[in-house]
Symmetry: C2
Subunit: 473 residues, 2 copies
């Protein structure tokens, strides 16, 4: 009865009968294979795992797999699980560039991403379903440029509790990522006649690009083992810092410098932008709270779900000095809003405790990975030293004298491993004399099953002799 379906607006697919569930799952898998979303050769989760993820009976999933094996979409082999069949057939309709790379082993230890395979899909979609079932209809409307009040309330509570942030929901503005938040702030500064924003001399190139795009100059300040050397600040309009865990060098900002930068802001009228990208992840002790608490009227706290959950959500938040709320909203007007459904779902996820549980689980997993990385390097490649705090999602691995970053990165690529170079994060005028050659290793990036292999390849790349044979440990 498609007409009835269409007119009532009720999707009967949610009726849970096992035959219907099986058919739906089969259709979804066929479509995903046909369009190349599930690439040839890909190993599927076990029927037990997928059944658990979906909340289905295991037999339902096993039967769907069996049907697709019979139809030739999947191949099941004892010991190697169920895989997408390799086919000879018409070209993928999407053309070349979207066909997934067919290189079978690709290891990724570049920084900047959590293990996105840990995204709690079932919990997230469950939270969305429960939330939407009781949400008032206006949530589907254009919404408030601040973001949904439910999410701002939930974040105000969470940030106070987990990060010591001071500020109520009225000072929070939801945005679609740290980048958008920084762009909004730069736009406000530019309109006020600002000319220069200070950044850490080693940091994300995109931060410098966003500042320049807003028509402002970039003024790098050096970083040492106590964090950014904020005593170098003069008349810049603002400074962007990563106080909890400097990216990519790794120290946290020393207590006296935290006070000093807030004092600088209070005296000069400058603004401090606190990029708390990985503040939830500290492994050796309770995390240091946000610097924002020292000066809520001078510091903008920026947090994100990109590292705790997934960058694909495009959810971040600014906690603003009260006087900045209206100007930021004006800059945001008309063009930039964030999807409401994801906002409500995150609110429900936080309120139900699911977010805390997920962060705690990820913290355990990443702590274990960091320890494994340290151990593997200490025993396999002792000349490559892990520096920096036991925190966050990345570590700096310094190279022995005479070994260049390019050497090691090149050898790693030969093993199918991608890894970051410290040089990629230096501002042009960083004056990096104080920093050795180093790799930036994002140990959170690979999925769980690929982590050990990735570390083994890193060790191999570190101990192999270079072209001139200089690097034997």
């Amino acid at each position: 009865m498609p007409e009835t379906w269409a007119i009532s607006g009720v999707d009967l697919h949610v009726e849970v009968g096992s035959a219907r569930v099986r058919r739906t799952l089969e259709d979804a898998l066929r479509e995903a294979i046909r369009t190349g979303r599930l690439p040839q050769g890909l190993r599927l989760p076990s029927s037990r795992q997928l059944a658990a993820d979906l909340g289905f009976a295991r037999n339902t999933v096993a039967d769907a797999y069996g049907q697709l094996v019979a139809e030739g979409w999947l191949v099941a082999r004892q010991g190697s699980g169920t895989r997408v069949a390799r086919r000879v057939g018409p070209r993928d309709p999407r053309g070349h560039e979207h066909v997934p790379a067919s290189r079978p082993s690709r290891y990724d230890l570049r920084p900047g991403s959590p293990d996105v395979s840990s995204f709690p899909t079932a919990a997230w979609t469950g939270a969305m379903r429960r939330t939407l079932a009781v949400a008032p209809v206006e949530v589907f409307g254009y919404g408030d440029p601040r973001g949904r009040p439910e999410l701002r309330e939930a974040l105000a509570g969470y940030l106070a509790r987990a990060r010591g942030v001071r500020g109520d929901a009225d000072r929070i503005v939801i945005c679609s990522g740290f980048g958008q938040g920084l762009a909004l702030l730069c736009s406000v500064l530019e309109e006020r006649g600002a000319s220069t924003v200070a950044v850490e001399a080693h940091g994300l190139p995109s931060v410098r690009q966003i500042i320049r795009r807003a028509g402002l100059g970039v003024s790098p300040i050096a970083v040492d083992e106590r964090g950014a050397m904020v005593e170098a600040l003069t008349d810049q309009a603002a400074v962007v810092l990563t106080p909890a865990h400097q990216f990519p060098l790794g120290p946290s900002l020393a207590p006296d410098r935290r006070s000093a930068v807030v004092d600088w802001a209070a005296e000069s009228g400058g603004l401090v932008v606190e990029d708390d990208y990985d503040g939830e992840f500290r492994y050796d002790r309770h995390p240091v709270g946000a610097m924002q608490a020292l000066g809520p009227d001078h510091v903008v706290y920026v947090g994100t779900a990109s590292k705790t959950l997934a960058p694909g959500l495009r959810l971040a938040w600014l906690v603003l000095p009260r006087a900045l709320v209206e100007p930021v909203l004006a800059a945001k007007a008309y063009a930039d809003y964030t999807g409401v459904l994801e906002q409500l779902t995150l609110a429900a996820f936080i309120t139900s405790g699911g977010y805390d549980r997920h962060v705690r689980a990820r913290r355990l997993a990443y702590r274990r990975r960091r320890a494994e990385l340290v151990r593997a390097l200490a025993s396999g490649a002792p000349s490559g030293a892990v520096t920096g705090m036991a925190a966050g999602l990345h570590a700096l691995v310094t190279l022995p004298g005479g070994v260049t970053e390019a050497d090691v990165v090149g050898r790693a690529a030969g093993h199918g491993l991608m890894v970051g170079r410290l040089a990629d994060y230096a501002a042009a005028d960083a004056g990096g004399e104080g920093h050795p050659s180093a790799l930036v290793v994002g140990y959170a990036t690979p999925p769980e099953h690929a982590f050990t292999g990735a570390v083994a390849r890193l060790v191999a790349a570190l101990i192999e002799p270079g072209p001139g044979g200089r690097t034997r440990p």
Copy 2:
């Protein structure tokens, strides 16, 4: 076993057992009432309706309601359904400004929104769940500034089929709304040294504001009964048009003007931005295809899910001339991305046919509403004439001579009805001599149950005598 839960990342809430479902629903409702998301006095959907929406057994919902009545969260009364209890208690933690307005009847016929209460929640969350179950992990990563290939492929097919748009997935860029799309285009134009963009002299104020915000001038061109008078175009860098259904005046752009504007673009190097905000909704005949097909190298087609599904999704798409793809992506870089999960869900919704079914059902519903509006005005307030095509989500209602828009809007407000004035959409230098006083009636806006009451209030506002008694029909 919270540890197990947290570590496996599997939310067992999706297990469907009726006791668990009932408890989950109770928790969600309690939380929504506690935080004020469900305001005091609000009437809940019937247990039958909510059960159908959620795909649960009716008894499960009825039991949950019964439990919450017993706990004092809800009040059930014969004949008036189940409502959120009015409480005397601690102040809503969110403070004053977020407490929903307690005015019991508020009718909204302002234009710009579809009936968001028709959002297919169950189908949408079902599509999301099925999609994420088989999505490759990289969808949770930072993603492609163009948007997910799955969605761009699905849109290329849909737009060709439903709107005659020419262009493959490589020319489509996903953005978070028409506003963001226009802002990106303006930013590209401004970098190329453009100075002025033409707009229809009656149109959305936000369009003019986005253009000005990009540092460009706005040049209004008049609209008559054959659409925008594009012969007035000279050396503007671009023109923003609503060819399918001019907003808010209502005509479609005449065929000779469609050709003329594409010729203008080809000769002058100007760009045409086709805002196809409601092109899916035509009631008297098959819709006219997109103008973009006449000149895919000179016209940017902009479509959106804001009118077909809900503005809260923040999903729109640009189909760009090939030469504009890279510049738009460069403008989008770093700061502006759209959530990936919603993109994948929309792709699955289109591919499965669910989007078409939803649009078809909405088309039937809005056609019925428009006919009811025309009928009610003809019999109740014949001096207020509905003008414009049988299309879209709004109608222009012209007022008899001597009656001002402010008079009628004021009387409507007295009845608890909000409605738009034509004057609100005129550019400052529109030269509106050709247009009479008129209301802009968004007949799609109210939920189904409130539509007839809203129209009755509109009729009442039109026939009541004004302060000077001039308006008796």
